[in-house]
């Protein structure tokens, strides 16, 4: 059988790094092919070259037996290549049909298009109402819009970049059915992910990238998840040590916490309540945009809340700002590293000052003690193995994983009573992610209480003692993670968000 896509010796170098080095890839028609690798392994660069967003330095591509060198995504689309990005490019204030029309060269009349969207989306088990505003859709439904937009082009090859990171387990099931149907009809799918169990369930071939090079081709069904992970990382993985912890007294008590939306399409927090005990890790799961940022902001002190809603060690802290809360032992690490948890253009020393002044005594009478600040930044770098020439380097010069280690380390080394982290390992390579998780567990073992907000359910199952789901601004009652099945978690997360599943 002839290949659909054949790539040979593809190379792309950026200043200081070879993102792809002689990459070879073969995809057959109708095949679900996984592209595996850590962050920075070169997956994104490779698919961007296939989709015409990046021009390779050297190497050849053949598509359906003909030489293929797309100059832009439009050329790639007309050749039959479509792509669904990890970050959606949709306008929230427009309807589904309007969004789809915006991506077309010559959109048909709106009524015809709406009918077509209805037809295609139902046919592939992803029902969509073309008239609804995208701003009102859940993340899963937004992804449907992106997929349907691609399917209208009748692609031969569909590229999907981390499609399940925003979905609940039930929504993942629906998506997989769609993908299998597409594959059965002859559409090949290039599936990027680092979720290994998913890949084993869905894909029949895999290409593994590490450091810009192809390290292996294999059939993922013949390998265990652990073997795949080790191929990806190129080393044996450490298992996080989760020795038994004893929960102590209640340190943080949140009662009836509500907050109006912070942005137009943002969620409101609705009557959130929970108790957090010393020495425990509370995992809060949920698809992004369901109130995670808002919850972190009310706990960190960036947003004050109504009197009596947040209590730390018995004292009402609802009206206190971030530094007053830090003084009392409540620290936080927001999700967005650049621009929120850290200032991109400032040095690591200055970024250490950002949150460290209160607990680490980095100021005297308001004057910054540069020596102490540099020493603290260096401590974080050493203790958390942050790969950088030194504390004078600007935060934006660090890779995502290294900066995340710095951000988490900065808070952990301040010995918090309560630490709140949002997406602690998002966009972080496996080794760094394991180190961060271990640091959170160690912190809890020393008697601190930890709240880990994350979309990565496997991560929460690994570190959390209790699990609660955040869905449309409401928090479910926390349940012990021990014995909790992935289906139960999915239902706590809102199941398929009321999305319909059509008959295929």
């Amino acid at each position: 059988m002839s290949e659909l896509l054949e790539i040979e010796g593809l190379t792309k170098a950026y200043p200081g790094v070879v993102a792809n080095d002689g990459v070879a890839l073969r995809v057959r028609p109708g095949e679900v092919h996984a592209l595996l690798g850590e962050n920075g392994a070169g997956k994104s660069t490779l698919v961007k070259m296939i989709y015409g967003l990046v021009k390779p330095d050297s190497g050849t591509m053949q598509f359906q037996g003909a030489p293929y060198a797309p100059v832009d995504p439009r050329a790639a689309r007309s050749a039959g290549v479509a792509m669904v990005f990890q970050h959606f490019s949709l306008f929230e204030a427009l309807s589904v049909a309007e969004n789809v029309a915006l991506g077309m060269e010559t959109p048909p009349p709106m009524r015809q298009l709406a009918a077509k969207i209805r037809e295609i989306s139902t046919e592939y088990g992803l029902p969509l109402d073309p008239a609804r505003l995208v701003g009102d859709l859940s993340a899963g439904e937004r992804q449907r819009v992106e997929i349907v937009r691609c399917l209208l082009q009748d692609p031969k090859l569909l590229i999907m970049d981390e499609p399940t990171s925003v979905l609940t387990p039930q929504e993942v099931d629906i998506l997989f059915k769609t993908l299998r149907k597409l594959s059965a009809e002859g559409t090949a799918i290039l599936y990027i992910s680092h979720k290994l169990e998913e890949i084993r369930a869905l894909c029949e071939a895999a290409t593994i990238l590490r450091g810009g090079k192809v390290v292996d081709h294999c059939n993922p069904r013949e390998k265990s998840a652990r073997e795949l992970a080790e191929l990806m990382v190129g080393a044996e993985l450490k298992v996080t040590d989760r020795s038994t912890r004893k929960p102590g007294d209640v340190v943080l008590k949140v009662t009836n916490l509500s907050l109006p939306p912070m942005s137009q399409f943002g969620p409101a927090l609705k009557e959130i309540g929970f108790e957090l005990r010393a020495g425990e890790v509370l995992g809060i799961g949920g698809v992004a945009g369901n109130g995670q940022e808002e919850l972190l902001a009310t706990l960190s002190g960036e947003r004050p809340s109504k009197h009596g809603t947040v209590q730390l060690l018995g004292a009402d802290i609802s009206a206190l700002g971030p530094n007053a809360r830090r003084g009392m032992g409540l620290l936080a690490a927001p999700e967005e590293r650049l621009g929120h948890a850290a200032v991109p253009a400032m040095s690591l020393t200055e970024n250490a000052i950002l949150t460290g002044t209160t607990r680490k005594k980095l100021t005297q009478n308001g004057f910054v003690d540069q020596g102490a600040a540099r020493a603290f930044a260096q401590d974080v770098i050493t203790a958390f193995d942050v790969r950088t020439p030194g504390p004078h380097v600007a935060a934006r010069a660090l890779s995502g994983g290294n900066l995340q280690k710095f951000v988490i380390g900065r808070e952990v080394l301040q010995a918090p009573e309560v630490l709140v982290v949002n997406q602690p390992t998002w966009g972080v390579d496996a080794a760094a992610a394991a180190a961060i998780r271990q640091a959170l567990l160690d912190l809890a073992a020393q008697g601190a209480a930890v709240i880990a907000i994350s979309q990565d359910l496997d991560e929460l199952m690994e570190i959390a003692d209790r699990f609660a789901a955040l869905n449309e601004g409401r928090l479910s009652a926390p349940r012990p993670t021990k014995g909790l099945s992935i289906e139960e978690i999915g239902l706590m997360l809102g199941g398929a968000h009321g999305m319909q599943e059509a008959q295929i």
Binding site: P15, K55, P56, D57, S58, G59, T60, A69, S300, G301, E302, G321, P322, N323, A324, R326, A332, P334, E336, L338, G339, H340, A341, A342, V343, P344, A345, M346, E350, I353, L354, T355, T357, T363, G366, F367, V368, V393, A394, R396, A397
Partner: protein, 360 residues
Amino acid sequence: MITLIRRPNPAKFWTYATPIVAVIATMIAGGLLFALLGKPPIEAIRVIFWDPLFGANAGYFRGQLLVKAGPLILIASGLAVGFRAGIWNIGAEGQYIMGALASAWLALHVYPAESHWLFPAMIVLGALGGLLWAMIPALLKVWFGTSEILVSLMLVYVAENLLAYMAFGPLKNPEGYGFPGSRNLQSYPSAHNTDLIAGTGLHWGVVTAFIAVIATYILMHRHIMGFRIRVAGEAPRAARFAGVIPARLVVFCLGLAGAFAGLAGMFEVSGPSGQITDSFNVGYGFTAIIVAFLGRLHPIGILLAGLLMALTYIGGDMAQLTLGLPSAAIQVFQGMLLFFLLGFDVLTNFRIRLGRKAVA
């Protein structure tokens, strides 16, 4: 084809080199401009940059240098603090006028009483006048979210009209034979801001400007408040996370800049200018914006930029007199300086790569 590639770290070399490169480029482009106007370019540049310092009458002009640089440096020091935080006070000219009016009002009110307390009291009132005028855009921004850029700028014109009213009305010199303008404070010993060393142009305002440079340096680079100001300008969300309350920052930055501008107005009206007239303000408040950026918003840079800008003022006047250059040409020349500075600034954060590689 030219492509810009972002540098991971801002280039140290270009941070310091761009002002110098910009000055050189301004000289070249300015020279071309003067040549097109039919004036000898090299001589014009020499008259502007060299003669005031080392020419025949340099003794007089060197004193003028401090007189002109003093208010520019003082105002720019205050503005730069706000600019670092992303708070754009464009109305220093108005705050400068209000500082002058407030302090002159006091002096003219108690005239002709002599007291050691009068001059210090005028300093306080000058600072207060500028500060309160700056509180209008600050509080409107905090309470109603208005743009401080527009409000502060509009208030310049309000202040100018108030100045004219005062010069023709309440503050008019009763012994002035009907001419507009107040009594001259230079002939009122208790209120006169005299040269500390005769003939040098070094008056209390220049001393205050130097103190302002040192004070803002300590604030911005040693104190946690300055750190927070810089964070707020770089990343507002990170600033909030670090405990910065944006409203307080707006009030602080506008208040500081207003007070500095008011002080500059006070020292000017009690010294070099001497009286309140409808043409009292000569644009120091606007030129200080250029000085702040030319000095990289850094106190030491502002000190040097203020001196340079004062030099182009004095040299420009000389060029008008001796070579007959139109005053508009001098203003274009000054504008070019900011233009080239912002243009070359790209090199600090980006590398330039010429040509492009062949596509495989």
